[in-house]
Chain length 201, copies 2
DNA sequence: GCAAAAGTGTTCACACTACACCCATGC
DNA sequence: GCATGGGTGTAGTGTGAACACTTTTGC
């Protein structure tokens, strides 16, 4: 997860999720996209509204309603200069500094939503580069769901969906043998979705 | 679903979901409960936040952010006087007049959420009286999920969960033979939930 | 006695789980 | 040649789906 050191009071210099204020002429979705772009330079990434927070005293200075969103970002494809400028830093979900206000709850909700989503939609692919290996995909799902998958069962199920196109390339960065690279077959996915389909890994 | 005839412009006299304005000193949850009580007299019912709507022109008169909630109400246990006073009326989900603004989308989201919830939590019981029969429960789930369940499989699964307490009473209002009444065993449910449990019907 | 809904058991297919060995390669 | 991670098949088990007949009782 990408977090920032808050630049103003209250809670200045403590860790926080990235956020900003809604403008008069923009929708909630637009605001979320704008704020993500300002901090990471990214556009067009997977993003979803989570929950509206409205407790009266959640911000000690002013009455504030926050609408939380979560986005899925490929770790290596954001603008590091922008992130540095805002004091942003990556942490693992299992080990991160404590967060201000109710942001901890936002993280909980985001994780829960992400886990449920991965059971019905193949959004895991949003977090991987265009070409990826099966072991990469597997360890991503293991991180999301904090569990381990049997390599044989995992690839069996994956192949039975026929959602991946095998390439003639190998990724040799993690083993001597090398693992085949695959691409996500978007057309095939649209077909399957249209005919009512469940993506459970 | 319970809908009201809107009493003010814009869209005066058209059908709408019930709504109201957030006060300075109340949380979103508090506001939702207050508004439900004002219109139906009900308190302490199952209620859940759904989604925040923030498109710039969704209300043609003023910039408005709406946070939608859905509640589960036992059809026969609300205050009919209050409802009448506000011009409220019940409709079935499959046949209702068209709704103002983005309220149609709110209904879609509520239905989707309700369907997903019934797979992991026994919230269907929130919609039934304290004592109910298996056929009643079954037809409720058939209405929620717009499908039909095999009576044998349905009650088999239900009994295997051991969440219901069979009473020595019968409900004879729908058949000559009469159907046994059951109660939901809340203690048993808490036990099961604590030990990680999935309620799929 | 008949109509109408309630109640109940068995079989089959498929999906999920568990599990162990060979392969390719760089060093 | 050996260490390291990648890749694959099978057998057993449990869960979900399909399916038909008997029971009760008010009229």
């Amino acid at each position: 997860m990408l977090m920032i050191k808050r630049g103003f009071e209250p809670e200045k210099d403590n860790w926080s999720l990235m956020g900003g204020f809604l403008k008069q002429d923009e929708s909630l979705d637009d605001a979320a996209e704008r704020i993500l772009e300002e901090l990471t330079g990214l556009t067009g990434v997977y993003m979803e509204q989570l929950f509206a927070y409205g407790d009266v005293n959640r911000d000690p200075i002013a009455r504030t309603i926050s609408v939380s969103y979560y986005a899925l970002i490929k770790v290596d494809s954001y603008n590091k200069e922008l992130a540095k400028l805002h004091g942003a830093k990556w942490f693992t979900v299992t080990q991160h500094p404590s967060l201000i206000f109710d942001h901890e709850d936002m993280v909980e909700k985001a994780l829960g939503r992400l886990r449920r989503r991965t059971r019905t939609e193949p959004i895991g692919f949003e977090l991987l580069p265009e070409k990826f290996t099966i072991p990469q995909l597997r360890s991503l799902y293991e991180a999301i769901n904090q569990t381990e998958y049997d390599p044989r069962n995992f690839s069996k199920k994956l192949h039975s969906m026929k959602l991946l196109t095998k390439l003639d390339e190998k990724d040799k960065s993690t083993s001597r043998k090398g693992a085949y690279l695959y691409k996500f077959d978007k057309n095939r996915y649209e077909e399957l979705k249209a005919s009512g389909f469940n993506f459970g890994l």
